[in-house]
């Protein structure tokens, strides 16, 4: 033991800390641009809509989509660099399991991906409502939300927003888990020579397979959460359109989560058994 501390460290916590620090180096810069642009917009929106206002609107609406692209790029770049380049000599010799290595990256980059999607959607809805108001329409953000998602009443907005957030999280984690699987599989000996091409092929095949599996299973077992206008709710099988409430499909989300979990353990198994760091 050293003079630092005799208490063994939580290795998963350390992986999360270091992955978060590494990822936030670049991603946080884009967030700062977005925050500054949005603050500028809020300050100038009551004024004469001059040059600063126009730039802030442009940045506030474009940067969220840049953010998605930057995050997506970093999901791929960091995973490939830290595990399958020379850095892999360090990463794979750490005293942690492959589940921990993969889990940490999934959590950190799944989080960034979800937040990036959520920021982009929020900005889209916010500026759509703002432009409607500018055009003389008295439409509020809530009204726009009702119209966009065909919701029966304002009281459903909160629950639909929560459902939407869960959907974004699951979609973000699915995207990250397919990317990680594709990158990892492309580094086994069979695909190593043209791993970049194979990673794209594997990504496409797995993504399509997940869609097909979900729709096949869904056609047999389709489960909804039914929210009635009188405040009651029910979980029911079958394709149901409610006149007096809202129907939220639960089963596709569940099937994606199950497939993500399977993909996670297969990726971890490949990392543990068949990867050879060059």
């Amino acid at each position: 033991m050293t003079g630092n501390s005799d208490k063994p460290k939580n290795k998963m916590g350390m992986l999360l800390k270091n992955d978060f620090l590494a990822s936030s180096r670049v991603i946080s810069l884009v967030y700062i641009v977005e925050i500054v642009a949005f603050i500028l917009f809020l300050i100038t929106k009551g004024g004469d809509h001059g040059k600063v206002w126009r730039i802030s609107v442009l940045l506030s609406t474009v940067v969220p989509f840049v953010l998605i692209l930057v995050t997506l790029f970093f999901v791929v770049y960091d995973f490939n660099k830290s595990l399958y380049s020379q850095q892999g000599y360090l990463t794979y010799s750490l005293p942690v399991t492959s589940n921990q290595l993969l889990g940490s990256k999934m959590i950190v980059y799944g989080f960034w991906m979800s937040v990036s999607f959520a920021v982009a959607i929020f900005m889209m809805v916010y500026f759509a409502a703002y432009l409607e108001q500018q055009a003389g329409d008295t439409m509020q953000m809530a009204d726009l939300f009702l119209g966009m998602f065909d919701l029966p009443s304002v009281k459903h907005i909160k629950i639909y927003a929560f459902y939407g957030l869960a959907m974004f999280f699951i979609f973000a984690f699915s995207l990250v888990s397919i990317l990680y699987f594709a990158i990892t599989a492309s580094h086994v000996r069979l695909f190593q020579k043209a791993n970049f091409v194979w990673a794209i092929v594997i990504f496409g095949v797995v993504a399509i397979m997940m869609l097909i599996i979900t729709s096949i299973v869904d056609s047999h077992i389709f489960i909804n959460l039914l929210l009635y206008d009188d405040g009651t709710s029910k979980i029911k099988a079958g394709d149901i359109m409610l006149q007096n409430g809202l129907s939220l499909p639960l089963s596709p989300l569940f099937y994606y989560v199950v497939q993500d979990v399977i993909l996670f353990f297969v990726t971890s198994l490949i990392m543990r058994k068949w990867i050879n760091i060059k």
Binding site: N4, K9, K11, N18, A22, Q87, G88, L90, P95
Partner: protein, 239 residues
């Protein structure tokens, strides 16, 4: 081959191939605890593959490998301090970042010693890896390994590609910072530089274990390890 009484690394019937190329073919041996062991062999003889198996970087092999009684995995990785021949630090890291990173994962890492050694090695705490020279990168990696109080040190070509003065520096750093009773397995083909410090050697080539003995036994008849190495591998270079 007889089993060594206090073996720190035990290898039984180990085979590893890349497609049709067999780099290790049914190899068995034990490495004695507390020794400085030279892993010798020409380029492509399987030294790095063997080291990667010991450090858990290669897992698709046949046979049995035990590192201090356990298969290569989380437990063995916490006992082994590994210096690969490649630069493995992220380019954006500074020397201090690298020290903090290693300190996060290894309970036997002496951070205070590492911070002091940065100055001894004449490195800059805030300099990024990407702006360091190759020599500086090798120094920081050596520092990270030798500031661990590990039971086993596995060093892959620690003196490869550096000038004779740097080789001397590296060798001194390894010997001075090695905890008492620890084992060092060092692969190299610069035998002349290290043969004076080795307790035993292991030679591999053509997929086989070709020789394993103490340096005292091998040099008893007046030959140097370098000369013995040349005799063993002479045929590989004849035409």
């Amino acid at each position: 081959m007889d089993s060594v009484k206090d073996s720190v690394i035990s290898v039984r019937n180990l085979s590893k191939s890349y497609g049709s190329i067999h780099v290790l073919n049914n190899v068995s041996f034990d490495l004695e605890r507390g020794h400085i062991i030279g892993l010798l062999g020409p380029n492509g003889s399987g030294k790095t593959s063997l080291i990667k198996i010991f450090t858990g970087l290669i897992n698709d092999y046949k046979g049995e490998v035990l590192i201090d009684g356990t298969k290569p995995g989380v437990i063995s990785k916490s006992k082994v301090a590994y210096l690969p021949e490649k630069t493995y630090l992220a380019s954006y890291m500074t020397a201090d970042d690298a020290i903090n990173y290693i300190a996060d994962f290894y309970d036997d890492f002496d951070k205070e010693k590492a911070m002091k050694m940065i100055d001894v090695f004449q490195l800059d705490h805030k300099q990024k890896v990407k702006t360091m020279s190759k020599g500086q990168q090798e120094k920081i990696q050596l520092l990270l390994v030798m500031c661990r109080n590990a039971q086993i040190y596995i060093l892959d070509e620690p003196m490869g590609g550096v000038d004779p003065a740097a080789r001397d520096f590296i060798l001194r750093a390894i010997l001075q910072n090695r905890p008492e009773g620890s084992t060092i397995l060092m692969s190299t083909h610069l035998i002349h530089d290290i043969e004076g410090v080795l307790d035993s050697i292991i030679m591999i080539g053509r997929g086989q274990l070709l020789m394993q003995d103490t340096t005292a036994n091998l040099t008893a008849q007046g030959k140097t390890i370098n000369e013995i190495f040349k005799e063993v591998f002479r045929n590989d270079w004849e035409f």
